[in-house]
Symmetry: C2
Subunit: 324 residues, 2 copies
């Protein structure tokens, strides 16, 4: 049984210094993940304005975490992070590199080539790519067997799941090491055995979203009611049990008993969706109106802060619920 | 914005006495929902053994809720519940009837006919049917316009979502009244505008399960890792925000911006699943083995109690998180 929440840095792991390349939302959050685990972080971003701003932004995030008891010494964690002005300065001498630059094949290719040029022997590189498989931007590299997709959920310091996806030429012997490392820094790593569009997380999210959009477009329920179905129904169990464990506990004889009883229903539902359309423009426009009535566009940042505050409270709750 | 948790019985609503027909897991839990809201409950079950056992079982559940602070006076709530020995004695004089008998068309038809015979004018009947639409078992009733599917999640006293699904002949003017009533007793009702196989909740669950089984059958990840993807990833947001609000906050311009960026990816994923197979027997057998290694078959009841304890803690947390 996996834990719901891990205390950072309890394991012994050999990664003592890491580089984060790209200092947007994801790169910044990765720096927090590593620094809170006691790791020295060197950050790089191609944009001087980002390099100038990022440590102040991280300081704010660390203070919010400290308010929730998720970190004891935010100043010490911050002191582990250094911003540098070249990829070479970031990467030289580190044990691990996390790349989180723009989600575009040409950008990923160029940045990974630079990393490849200066990385020491034995270094592992993870890419935060949320959709592009590593095979599309690492094939020409000298050290291509040491590059993986290491895809987090946004933001990784508040949502622990990380997908490790090797390219066809990745050294699979490194996978357990990456998994152990991510586990030790407090994330919840999973292994995707081979490349597939959307990896696991976005395929599962997409399957649910596609059905939600179809039901909404066909007028079966309001946007708000479909949201309630998850936030007050399915999501209450999925917050601490995956879909397979959920059904394993929902039939007297376990998962195979459940499958015998309900597989025909779910197959029938799938057969009704054999001709999938893109999310319809008309439904998107209605959804936009319904959402903007619930939340004005200029209040989105405020609601995002509320979401992140809630995620922090929830992490504290999960930690406590496991210890009880 | 919906609340995450409601205090029972804060609204003023006209349903003062209800009947619950069928005293299995669902019927029993409905009795708790009503009794904790201050409503007088008359319970019936065709099986004398169930009638003899059910109040002691409810007493246990109420004490567990009291331990978590989810109810203040379990003895008082229990005293509101009376077990009676006929449908007529249960239904005569009540304001609302919740039917939770076996999920079979012939059984539902027979029981609803009995209710129909003895119900007073003005009474509304909700069926806990999780899959059979009301049109399949209420068409011949004298009061058929007053019968609805009122489908809860198991168990309703711990998971608030309820789907109200009218049959084609249901009186739609009653829908807002049912919704208000369920809301007032602490549930989270949604309205399904017309009948569809699986309603909303099980269609959303099914879409995710179908993709999860396909990924597992094709060897992309282990069962445990697919579960982690939800319990440590998607489920952390879905525990308090629906899928539409989640994506509304995940693009700078809101839900329509997200749709423009990511609809093509999700459409492409759907196109890969145009030939859905029933969950493969081979995968079910592997899943059975993987689950039984994680949890022996005779430990399922213990894990179900753990799940229900966790749900209670989570309800307390949600209530507090909203008040903060």
């Amino acid at each position: 049984m996996p834990l719901f929440f891990r205390t950072y840095g309890q394991g012994t792991f050999p990664m003592k210094t890491v580089a984060t390349i790209g200092s947007g939302l994801i790169g910044k959050s990765w720096a927090i993940v590593f620094a809170r685990a006691g790791i020295t972080v060197r950050m790089f971003d191609a944009d001087p304005a980002r390099r100038a701003a990022v440590k102040d932004e991280i300081a704010l995030d660390l203070r919010a975490m400290a308010r929730h008891g998720l970190i004891t010494d935010p100043a010490e964690a911050l002191s582990r992070i250094t911003v540098v002005d070249s990829i070479a300065r970031a990467v030289k001498g580190v044990d691990y590199v996390q790349e989180s630059v723009l989600e575009r094949v040409d950008v990923k290719t160029a940045v990974c080539r630079e990393i490849d040029e200066v990385m020491d022997a034995g270094v592992i590189v993870g890419s935060s790519s949320s959709g592009i498989p590593a095979s599309q931007f690492t094939g020409e590299l000298k050290n291509r067997e040491r590059f993986f997709v290491v895809h987090p959920v946004n933001p990784p310091h508040l949502v622990p799941l990380v997908e490790i996806v090797p390219a066809p030429w990745s050294d699979l012997d490194l996978v357990p090491r990456i998994r152990e490392f991510l586990d030790a820094v407090g994330q919840a790593p999973i292994v995707v055995n081979r490349e597939i569009e959307g990896f696991i997380l976005n395929r599962l999210q997409g399957a649910l979203l596609n059905e939600a959009w179809a039901l909404y477009a066909e007028g079966y329920a309001s946007l708000a009611d479909i949201d309630l179905t998850v936030s007050h129904g399915l999501g209450l169990r999925w917050a601490f049990m995956g879909p397979f464990e959920t059904i394993d506990l929902n039939a007297p004889g376990g998962i195979d008993d459940y499958a015998r009883r309900l597989s025909p229903l779910y197959h029938s539902i799938a057969l009704q969706r054999r001709d999938p359309k893109p999310w319809p423009d008309e439904a998107i426009e209605r959804a936009r109106q319904e959402r903007r009535e619930a939340l004005a566009i200029d209040r989105i940042p405020e609601r995002q802060r509320w979401r992140d505050e809630y995620l922090m409270k929830q992490l504290v709750f999960r930690k406590k619920a496991v210890e009880d």
